[in-house]
Structures are given as structure tokens and as C-alpha cells.
């Protein structure tokens, strides 16, 4: 038996098909994964993501500690609540995990809230603790929180109708990629779907009541299956599939998250990344579209005529596009065409920017 979120019994009552995800029993879907996907793109839906790990970082050295730990630079967080996406690298420049960090407190006296992946919790915490010894910081895992995502074009408006006046005001005022506390809740305008929406942390004891409020208001429950197709359409990486400790951010379409300046900031993995960057020629993570019928899946072989081979890292059927899309790691010189092997046959692929759908609009 896996770990359970406070909503486990409610998921079963709602007819969820449960699966193991990183050691947690989580809902895959509540009937139709494709319908849930469309629901988020067209209206909104709620996801239980309480399996994710929340870690608060405070203390006099909180900022220099995270400037050492993360490839992106928390000094870029210049307004309260502002969020930053970053990779946490090992010395070889491989990705230990990807995470979101919010600025808690003030710019002058900063504290931070990190949200890391569930499946990587143990190694992340071990790594974070091992590198905290030379800093005056305190790490506190917030397993007292439940975490919901409400995502979709109507997510903020519909959620605001169900909460207190002050939380409703906060929901209306939040800027994209900003999260702020209200009482014991923490409400952020972030997500993993390519749509507007919220991620809400609240005390675990309030989780069932609030989830019921959302469902009672007609907001659809969405499982991990649709979460995966939504993030894939949005071109957002999944840790363990599109990136891992063997791949650097440069090979994961995450070069934009590496803060090279200031040049004296010695984040873990910097030297290795700089060597790769200067050498060039490292593989790239791109988007691919299968124009024929079929479904792209992780680990299918991709070949690029005259250049070399790569592989699909995440593939699925895109409900929005009605065809199969994928992320693929391919040789540096890949241009706009490639081929994929599916069950012994080769099919043409169109190579695109790895962002297929955002805010309900098709980008490719």
C-alpha cells in the first residue's frame, strides 16, 4: 500500500481509478482522462497534488544557501511572493530535481518556500540537508499541508466564489507566478497545465471540506493522467522522464532557468555546465509532432537523417490537437524533420518548439 493524501477516501467515492505514483496512491482519472483534459482547457478542474513535497527554508543565510543550491538565482525574487522555477543540480550538472521556489517574508529578510517532486523527496531532502551545514539555515518540511491545483481559464474566478473575502481578493490580485499567504493558507498563481490557475496549500485538516466545496460547485476533479497530457501540451518537463541526474539543463530545454550572472555566484554544478556550454554540441530537448495516426511513447527511437539518433522522452496523444505529440532528446544539429520507430516501422516527425498549447491556443 502506498502513501495516501487526506483526500484518498474522497477520490474512491468519486470513482477514481487509483495508481501508484512515486510511492503514493493517486487518482489516474475519474472516468475519462480525455474529458478531464478538455475540461481544464475549456473551463477548469481541480487536482489533488498533496503528494508533492513542500519545504520552507529560513534563517540568516537562506538566500546565500539557495544561491549555492539552485541553478536559478533567488536574488531575482524582488517582490514578496514572487516565484522562480529552477533546477537543483549535482556537481556534474545533472538534474537532481526541478522545483518552484517562492519568496516568503520580505526582500530584506527573506525566507523561501520550495515545492519539489514527490518521487524525489528523500534524495532531495538528503541533498538539501547535506549542503546546509555551512549555512545558518533551517529546513522544515511542511507535511502538514494539503496541496490542490485548480487550473483552467475560469479557475481563479470560480475558486474566488468559494473562499473568504480576503482570500478572494488575494486570488484576484495575484500576478502570474506569485504566491502569498492568507492565514494558514498559501495561494499561488502557478501550475503545470499551461493554463491560468492556482495552487493552494492549506492545512491537511481543511482539505476534505474545501475539496468538497470545489466539487460541490461543479468543478471537475482531474487525475494524474490528464495532468500528464496537459503538461506535455504545455511543453513542461516531467522529472524522471524528460530530465534526470544524467541530463543537464542544457539538454532539457532548461537553459533559460540557469542564471549565469552574476558570474561569481558559485552554484552547484556551475563548472560542469560551463564546460558543456563552451564545448557545445550537447543534445537538445525538442517538441515533435506525429502527422500520421499512432501514438508516440517514451523511449521510442528517433533518427535524424545524416545527423544521428535520439529518443522520445515523453509521448502521448494530445487531446487538444487530436494527434500524437512528444518531447524528444535529439542531436544538436537537428532541424525541422526527424523520424520515429514505432513497432518496427519508421514514421515522419515534425520538429517544433516544445510548447504545443498554451492558454487554450494551439502554438504549432
Amino acid at each position: 500500500m502506498g502513501q495516501r493524501t487526506p483526500l484518498y477516501d474522497l477520490h474512491l467515492a468519486l470513482g477514481a481509478k487509483m495508481v501508484d505514483f512515486g510511492g503514493w496512491d493517486m487518482p489516474l482519472h475519474y472516468g475519462s482522462q480525455v474529458e478531464e483534459h478538455h475540461q481544464v482547457r475549456r473551463d477548469c478542474g481541480v487536482f489533488d497534488v498533496s503528494h508533492m513535497t513542500v519545504v520552507d527554508v529560513q534563517g540568516a543565510d537562506a538566500r546565500p544557501y539557495l544561491q549555492r543550491l539552485l541553478a536559478n538565482d533567488v536574488a531575482r525574487l524582488q517582490t514578496p511572493g514572487k516565484a522562480l522555477y529552477s533546477a537543483m543540480l549535482n556537481e556534474q550538472g545533472g538534474v537532481i530535481d526541478d522545483l518552484i521556489v517562492y519568496l516568503l517574508g520580505t526582500v530584506e529578510v527573506p525566507a523561501y518556500r520550495l515545492v519539489v517532486n514527490a518521487a524525489t523527496r528523500d534524495k532531495d531532502l538528503a541533498w538539501m540537508r547535506a549542503h546546509s551545514t555551512e549555512f545558518d539555515v533551517e529546513l522544515r518540511e511542511r507535511s502538514d499541508f494539503a496541496l490542490f491545483a485548480v487550473q483552467g481559464p475560469k479557475a481563479r474566478a470560480r475558486t474566488a466564489e468559494l473562499v473568504s473575502q480576503s482570500r478572494a481578493s488575494l486570488i484576484h490580485e495575484l500576478k502570474p507566478f506569485q504566491g502569498l499567504p492568507d492565514g494558514e493558507w498559501f495561494i499561488a498563481r502557478t501550475g503545470y497545465t499551461g493554463e491560468d490557475g492556482l495552487e493552494i496549500m492549506l492545512p491537511a485538516g481543511e482539505a476534505v471540506a474545501f475539496f468538497n466545496d470545489l466539487v460541490g460547485a461543479g468543478i471537475s476533479t482531474i487525475g494524474l493522467g490528464a495532468r500528464d497530457t496537459l503538461r506535455l501540451e504545455a511543453g513542461l518537463n516531467l522529472y524522471g522522464q524528460d530530465m534526470d541526474e544524467q541530463s543537464s539543463p542544457l539538454a532539457c530545454n532548461l537553459a533559460w532557468t540557469v542564471a549565469w550572472e552574476p558570474s561569481e555566484r558559485a552554484f552547484i554544478g556551475r563548472e560542469a555546465l560551463q564546460r558543456q556550454h563552451q564545448a557545445g554540441g550537447h543534445p537538445r530537448l525538442v517538441g515533435v509532432v506525429l502527422e500520421e495516426r499512432g501514438v508516440l511513447r517514451a523511449h521510442q527511437v528517433v533518427r535524424v537523417d545524416g545527423i544521428g539518433e535520439g529518443e522520445i522522452t515523453s509521448g502521448s496523444f494530445s487531446p487538444t490537437l487530436g494527434k500524437s505529440i512528444a518531447l524528444a532528446r535529439v542531436p544538436a544539429d537537428t532541424r525541422d524533420r526527424a523520424e520515429v520507430e514505432i513497432r518496427g516501422k519508421w514514421y515522419p516527425l515534425r520538429v517544433v518548439q516544445p510548447s504545443f498549447v498554451r492558454h487554450g491556443k494551439v502554438l504549432i
Binding site: G225, T229, G294, F317
Partner: protein, 127 residues
């Protein structure tokens, strides 16, 4: 609970088979199979004229989640395929026993007797 019509025969690999009045055998996948697969998005069917052995790979059904092979429940020649599934693969989810995949002219109709009846199939998925 999945539906298992009593007038069909079943393979342990989750295909259903129906003997038609003209001696042909119509093949699809069971309600249990479509539930396990989830939303079906693509189906690869065998070519007409292909001769299959019982248990031989006959095609592939892909859901959002995974690809799954389909097998010929009895041996024979493929004499028809359901082209409509190409445009509406979701009909396999909505109506698994109406959404046939292909028809075989069996080489040995007695092979049908080796397939499970509805009670046997129920027992095999409960097991």
C-alpha cells in the same frame, strides 16, 4: 463492473468473438479491456486477406495510457476490417461489443469452442 454478454466467446487476452450465421467470426475487445486501457485513441487493424493463426498478433489498440496488442482468438483469414474505428476510436470505449475490429473466415470453426464462455471469462478476470 464490466459487461460480459452471454452470447459471445472470449479469449484470456480480452478479445470477444462471435460466430455469425455465414460462418465468419467477428472480433472485438471486451468491456473489461476497454476499461483497463482507458480512452482509446488509435487502432491498428490487420490487412484484409491476411491469414492469422489462433493467438497470433492481429493489431494494436492504443489508449492515451498505453499500447496493447490484440490477438486473433481463432485462426483464419481476415475478410473485413472496421474502417470506421479510424475516425472514431472512442467508440471502443462507448460501445465495446458494437465496435468490432475485424472479421475472420475461420480455418477451423471448432477452435471457437476452446474460447471461454461468459462465466469462464468472468472467472479469468476475477482471478
Amino acid at each position: 463492473m464490466s459487461s460480459i454478454p452471454a452470447d459471445l466467446r472470449y479469449a484470456t487476452s480480452h478479445e470477444w468473438a462471435r460466430l455469425e450465421a455465414d460462418g465468419s467470426v467477428t472480433v472485438g475487445i471486451s468491456d473489461h479491456a476497454q476499461q483497463a486501457l482507458g480512452d482509446v485513441v488509435f487502432i491498428e487493424l490487420p490487412e484484409i486477406g491476411k491469414v492469422l493463426d489462433a493467438g497470433q498478433e492481429a493489431g494494436v489498440v492504443e489508449s492515451v495510457k498505453a499500447a496493447s496488442d490484440i490477438y486473433a482468438p481463432v485462426g483464419g483469414e481476415v475478410i473485413a476490417i472496421n474502417e470506421a474505428l479510424a475516425d472514431s476510436p472512442e467508440s471502443v470505449n462507448n460501445d465495446p461489443y458494437g465496435s468490432w475490429f475485424f472479421k475472420l473466415q475461420p480455418s477451423d470453426a471448432s477452435q471457437l469452442q476452446k474460447l471461454l464462455d461468459s462465466a469462464g471469462y468472468q472467472a479469468s478476470i476475477d482471478g
